[in-house]
């Protein structure tokens, strides 16, 4: 697989930044000017997990034309799978000291672990579930939706309804996932203290590696003949059908793959933020993920990563400095990007940087008009 320059730079930047932050956190004294505080490490790790979600959204929206307004559901499901593992690791250190049951189950007066918690004490099983559960949900949903040719905004709205239904479901105490409060107060991951600086730094580096892996996988998919067909499906679905392709199976494959990527992102997200609760299913979260992609540049993959980091950095800064203004800024961003920046930041980079070696051919210029 050949990598273009932008992709290469992105990979280097993500890995480099994660390593530098982690090293500066671990190798310098707390008082040193070069020291990176642990909250920055956790924040950076969170951004990278969001970047995985954005990558997943871009894969389906940018290349298959499926605007998912429910992708955060897959992210959250992955997160819950990891959360369940972390809950089981608490053991007797919970408030009630019950070796088998998480605190919230003791609180609800449950006597035994529900059957669907079986196996979550093993890390490998939890990781498998973090991928399998989103994959199965996406598979069933996608099989139904794509086969019956639900497309465009209809599909978007039912994906939103899907995450909304899950939101309501996870709020229920008797679902056995901690209800309203979700899961928190985690202690260990694979025997390492989740609160420890070294664990956090390690999680950041792991997130960076996984993100790069996901990026390479997504790159491979979209550059393959499969990816070309996907783009053809995105723009002229009926034509591909008359050529003998089955758009539904192409969409299903990329949809399930995307759900798995989001699930992995969620699984890495939970130990770094230390909590998972039903609000992760809120429809607003999924739509925010879409705006990350739109800001970065839809259908570029690199843009998804860039957008997730830029927007979330902005969010962190705004909610700290001017909390009132954040929603205005977010709302304005939605409007501005769709009206004036249809190619996102990547579009800006490509058009305003003449230093780029490849000359601006008429073909590229036309692409700006077509795919916008």
């Amino acid at each position: 697989m050949k990598l273009d320059r932008t992709s290469f730079i992105t990979l280097i930047a993500v890995m480099g930044a994660a390593l530098v932050l982690a090293l500066l956190n671990q190798m310098t004294a707390a008082a040193s000017a070069a020291h990176v505080p642990t909250y920055v490490i956790a924040l950076a790790g969170k951004y990278l997990c969001f970047a995985m979600l954005a990558l997943a959204v871009d894969l389906v929206w940018g290349f298959a034309g499926i605007l998912s307004l429910g992708h955060a559901a897959f992210f959250a499901l992955g997160g819950y799978a990891m959360g369940m593992y972390l809950m089981r690791q608490i053991g007797t250190r919970g408030v009630y000291g019950n070796p088998n049951l998480p605190d919230f189950m003791v609180f609800l007066g449950w006597k035994a672990l529900p059957w669907y918690w079986t196996g979550f004490e093993w890390f490998g099983f939890a990781i498998l579930m973090a991928m399998l559960v989103p994959a199965v949900l996406a598979g069933v949903f996608g099989w139904l939706a794509f086969r019956s040719r639900v497309t465009g905004v209809y599909l978007s709205i039912i994906t939103q309804a899907l995450t909304y239904a899950l939101l309501l479901a996870f709020f229920r105490n008797d679902m056995g996932f901690g209800g309203n409060n979700g899961m928190t107060d985690f202690k260990d991951i694979l025997g390492f203290n989740v609160q420890a600086d070294s664990t956090r730094s390690a999680l950041l580096v792991i997130s960076a590696v996984v993100l790069c892996g996901q990026f390479l996988l997504a790159r491979f998919v979209v550059d393959s003949r499969f990816g070309k067909i996907l783009i053809a499906v995105r723009d002229t679905e009926s034509r591909t059908r008359f050529l003998g392709y089955r758009p539904e199976s192409y969409k299903l494959v990329v949809w399930v793959l995307s759900a798995i990527m989001a699930g992995i992102g969620g699984a890495l997200y939970v130990p770094q933020v230390g909590i998972i609760n039903p609000s992760e299913f809120a429809p607003g979260n999924s739509i925010e993920a879409v705006i990350w992609v739109a800001v970065g540049g839809r259908g570029t993959l690199v843009g998804a990563i860039l957008g997730a980091i830029i927007v979330n950095f902005g969010k962190t800064w705004f909610t700290g400095a001017l909390p009132e203004v954040w929603l205005y800024a977010l709302g304005a961003m939605f409007i501005f990007v769709t009206l004036f920046l249809p190619r996102g930041v990547m579009g800006l980079v490509r058009t305003s940087a003449p230093k780029e070696p490849e000359p601006e051919t008429p073909a590229v210029a036309a692409a700006h008009e077509v795919t916008g």
Binding site: V221, S224, R225, F226, K228, I229, I231, A232, D235, T236, S238, R239, T240, R241, F242, L243, G244, Y245, R246, S249, Y250, V253, P362, A363, A366, A367, V370, T371
Partner: protein, 248 residues
């Protein structure tokens, strides 16, 4: 008149939209290797007929048989396409973000499954076939261009080229020369006759000069059924046809 086996056979096909009969007990037979021109005023049912043959629209009643005994009404578009029926749309529809080369590559007959295409690499055989189609459609110089940047006529040819790449037994061509210059129209007629040497073709066209240039049997559709059939000269003398086109 008949020079081979029946390739396509429509019997009493009726399609109605909210009471309006787009096709009204349409019956039609196409021989293997035949080229047929379909003419008719707007709303005569030409496009709906193509929709029915390619599986886009299911008829309310009637039979559509392809080859010996394949019932097309039971199949969907990809299945029908895989049987060897290619379709060219009225408006040229090519994959605009892709290059001419890639458009042809995606159209080449072969495995359409996701598992195959995910790992597929271009084989020398595929390259050779694409080169030859480029030649036929006079697009060799354009191979690296994005198809969105092609002229209207070039897009039409690219689409015909994609049909050829599919290697169909039957080509359905909807208004191929709409919007073409006279020179392009002539070249298209030559191209279609060339194609007809190896495959059956159904052409829907308004342009009578073009139909004349093709010099094939003509079917006149009106209000969803066949009004007249025969050589161009024969149908243009037919009083029923004259009434529909000129009368009232």
């Amino acid at each position: 008149m008949s020079e081979g086996d029946t390739l396509l056979y429509l019997d009493g096909v009726t399609v109605s939209f909210d009471g309006f009969k787009a096709l009204n007990a349409l019956s039609l037979t196409l021989e293997e290797g035949e080229m047929r021109a379909m003419v008719g005023p707007n709303g005569a049912g030409k496009t709906t007929m193509m929709d029915v043959i390619t599986g886009k629209t299911r008829p309310d009643s009637g039979k559509v048989v392809f080859g010996k005994d394949t019932d097309l009404t039971r199949l969907d578009e990809p299945a029908i396409a895989s049987l060897g029926i290619g379709r060219k749309f009225q408006k040229p529809t090519v994959f605009e973000p892709h290059t001419v080369w890639d458009n042809l590559l995606l159209a080449l007959a072969g495995d359409r499954g996701a598992r195959f295409t995910l790992f597929a690499r271009e084989t020398p055989e595929e390259k050779r076939r694409i080169e030859s189609i480029l030649e036929t459609t006079r697009l060799t110089d354009q191979r690296k261009r994005r198809s969105a940047d092609l002229s209207h006529g070039q897009k039409q040819w690219l689409e015909i080229g994609m049909l050829l790449a599919q290697e169909p037994k039957l080509l359905l061509v909807d208004e191929p020369v709409a919007g073409m210059t006279d020179a392009e129209t002539e070249q298209t007629a030559v191209l279609l006759r060339e194609i007809n040497k190896t495959r059956s073709v159904v052409v829907v066209e308004h342009d009578m000069a073009f139909v004349r240039a093709l010099g094939v049997k003509v079917t006149v559709l009106h209000e969803g059924s066949v009004l007249s059939e025969g050589s161009l000269d024969f149908v243009s003398e037919d009083p029923k046809v004259i009434e529909v086109y000129l009368g009232r």
